[in-house]
Assembly symmetry: C2
Homo-oligomer: 140 residues x 2
DNA sequence: AGACATTCGTTAATACATTAATAAAATGAC
DNA sequence: GTCATTTTATTAATGTATTAACGAATGTCT
């Protein structure tokens, strides 16, 4: 059988840890968790989203998202309202506080991203991203 | 700023999900969680390991590992003993039950791995693994 | 030997992941 | 229009992630 360290899922896990090491310290200053930032980042780009769309985009399952949304609301970063057409749906968007915080954080995080890419290799990074996209479309 | 879906950590997360989709169904038959299988897989290869070594290998933090070890022991898959030289260290190894289970599962999982590689591309898989290794060595 | 810091495993507290089950709203067949 | 079905969000239960703090065992220094 394949050696333990040659497992693709383990490699993906380790690689993700290595990448997150660039960003985690900045998020901890706020403080925000990795998942909270993913949610805020998605809402910054799409303005207002349904809970289900948000879960899909952020790769977070609905039950987890329920908790994340609650905590973000308590911290004053998001607001929620019910959809007028469909009373089941919850529409979520950023508060001004979140938008301000995002505006201050994003350039710092982007700089870290650049630093990571520089130390890795722009060319290889592009290749890696393409291969990861390809892997995402491989289904059992 | 970079588009939401172009984030490397998110791509790594999605790619890992896509890969795990090949193996999860088999593990659920036992049932075993992803982390439990990682621990068992490591112990199968290294016979007996200290808790700290196991954590390092499996990319699991000590506090998480404590719980995982406890549950695996209750299920009869592992046994633990104190190191004679250093009473702080815990030595962990597989039970016969675990070895039998592993022998039955590993060829099935390996077959899935092969299937995944086939559908992806052997050549690209090799490139991907090398790039992931390289990324692991990039530190802030 | 005795004070000191280190190391290893664990516990505590909070946040998230995963599956199953539930309640409420909307949809579709009749 | 009524009822079974489907969809959406939540709750429940268990397992894991992360940080801080703790206690016991070892190592170090004087």
């Amino acid at each position: 059988m394949r050696k333990f360290n040659d497992s693709l899922p383990l490699r993906l896990l380790k690689a993700r840890e290595a990448a997150m090491a660039f960003f985690r310290p900045l998020l901890q200053e706020i403080p925000l968790t990795e998942q909270q930032w993913r949610v805020i980042r998605a809402l910054n780009e799409f303005e207002e989203l349904e809970s289900k769309q948000l879960a899909e985009l952020c790769c977070i399952l609905s039950p987890s998202l329920t908790g994340i949304i609650n905590r973000l609301e308590q911290q004053g970063y998001i607001k929620r309202r019910k959809s007028p057409e469909d009373q089941r749906r919850i529409l979520i968007s950023l508060t001004d506080k979140a938008k301000t915080m995002f505006a201050q954080m994003s350039p710092r995080l982007e700089a870290r991203y650049q630093e990571m890419t520089d130390r890795f290799s722009h060319e290889d990074m592009k290749t890696l991203e393409e291969l990861l996209n390809k892997l995402c479309n491989v289904k059992p």
